[in-house]
């Protein structure tokens, strides 16, 4: 009994040293970079465990993306190179577990918004999605492909082709069928965006995600209203207004709606369409106390 007490005391005595050592221990940078995984290495290091390996890779990917979304890394966002690696990792996951739907969904619904300027990556995403669609029969995959062509790549013909493909698949919502022909007629970027956002909102479970989607929906609807007002203005005056205030002055709208992301709507001169300074991402609000 005495010996046990002494042993316990010794452990207690050792604690301050452990704490001291832990404090002065050299630390790795807390920013976790996106690592490129190789298919053959993952495959060989997990005998008989292809699917769990794919699951773990996807978890890792979600974790990293979450850090990016919620600004856990303070001043840092993913670089273009890291987005490229993320896309390649999804490709590895699909090779390991070719019937896994969720990574494809992630790739189609979220990633294009982040790499919208990079045609090469967008095309790569589309090819992965189409590759996946050979096995995973889900209407959302061609829907994403069509959306990408339409919204980011500006290829309306291909976009409509894949949207049509999606609308014909099992489980596709009925409004998609209505949407496709109208999209053929109109330029329809914002309409499409609203449709996608609405679809995501229906699927979302977690409250913060829902809130985010609702905010985007609100912004998109505001932009759609403004676009319609611009169209009216152009029809009435035969030219594009130089500022949104002119729309209010001419009495087409009552007031300029607020961007829920904290930016300001403005007119893109060349295209005569509405966009926002926030780029649909939360703007760091100038501290209101100032």
């Amino acid at each position: 009994m005495k010996r046990l007490l002494v042993a316990f005391l010794l452990v207690v005595v050792s604690i301050p040293f452990m704490l001291k050592a832990d404090k002065s221990k050299p630390r790795v940078n807390e920013v976790a970079p996106v690592l490129p995984y190789s298919y053959s290495q993952v495959l060989l290091s997990s005998p008989g465990l292809r699917s769990p390996a794919a699951d773990l890779l996807f978890m890792n990917l979600c974790y990293l993306t979450g850090n990016d979304v919620f600004n856990r890394w303070k001043e840092r966002k993913f670089t273009e190179e890291e987005w490229k690696r993320l896309i390649e990792n999804v490709e590895v996951i699909e090779k390991l577990d070719p019937y896994y739907f969720d990574p494809l969904y992630y790739l189609g619904s979220y990633v294009p918004w982040k790499v919208e300027k990079n045609r090469e990556l967008l095309l790569r995403i589309n090819s992965i999605l189409l590759q996946g669609n050979r096995r995973v029969k889900d209407w959302r995959l061609p829907f994403f492909v069509g959306f990408n062509y339409f919204y980011f790549l500006g290829d309306k013909v291909k976009g409509a082709k894949y949207l049509k493909l999606a609308s014909q698949m099992k489980g596709a919502p009925s409004y998609l069928k209505l949407l496709v022909p109208r999209l053929y007629a109109e330029s329809g970027r914002i309409n499409l965006a609203i449709a996608v956002t609405y679809e995501e909102l229906k699927r979302a479970k977690e409250e913060p995600v829902k809130k985010e989607l609702k905010r985007r929906l609100k912004a998109l609807i505001a932009m759609k209203e403004l676009d319609r007002a611009l169209e009216l203005y152009r029809r009435r005056f035969g030219k594009c207004p130089s500022d949104l205030k002119e729309l209010v002055k001419s009495g087409i709208i009552m007031s300029i709606p607020e961007d829920p992301y904290g930016g300001k709507f403005y007119i893109e001169k060349g295209k005569c369409s509405v966009w926002t300074t926030s780029n649909l991402r939360p703007v760091k609000e100038p501290t209101s106390s100032r």
């Binding site: 005998p47 699951d55 996807f58």
Partner: protein, 266 residues
Amino acid sequence: MNPFPVAKITFEELLKEKSFIGLLTLEVFLLFVSKLISNVVAGDTVKVAMDFALSFFFFTVALYSVFVSVGSTFRDVSDRVVYLILSKPLKRSDYVIGKFLGCTLAVALFTFLSFFIVTSGILTISSTANLYVPHVVVVERVFLLSLLVFLMGVFLSAFGILFAILFTSQVLALISAIFLFLAGLELSPVKELVVSSKYVSPVNKLIVQIAYYLFPNFSLFDVKDYVVHLAIKVSPLFFASVFIYSLIYTSAVLLVATYLFDRREL
């Protein structure tokens, strides 16, 4: 030929071993682990839970068959039980075959109970999961997987007995059997990667090809994906050929084991 008394007493002994109930308990515990892991992932949590639960099931049965066959055979020799048995009118091959049949029975019971544990676990997870598109679990597919896993366990038991006879150290026998199993799982991926690679010399490709043909191919028994993804279809021919393959190969391993045991000095 009279291997049945040895089979019976082996089975009786193995059922009362701690490893039997211990590994079954571990399996229940691992089901909870699978559920926990699946909570972390976005999207289809049932898919991820099944991936992990079935992998744990697969490896627990494999471990059980190796432990049981190597442990039981090795203990017989080192604890001199084999003297008691072989002093009776039994051939040495009767002993080896009997040992194998006893292990087969124990593995069968273990797989069957594991099947119940895993199936009820998966069904509970899928019925409590909160998904927009429910992940359907087809129990028949889990049962077919269990059948293949059982065949694999039998196959591994034969190897376990062979290694217990071949090696004079139990740890060495256990490690060899486990490495053989892992290597047998890697065989298909390695062949797939090597043959399609531009950087591998033809000689090495040939070596890999030969190994692929001769080495026991344990990845055949791994049809977890078939259980998880209902889109995958498998023909009955696959199950039939896996059955025949493991039957023939297991007999070959047992033949070698009896040959070695006949020549072994006890």
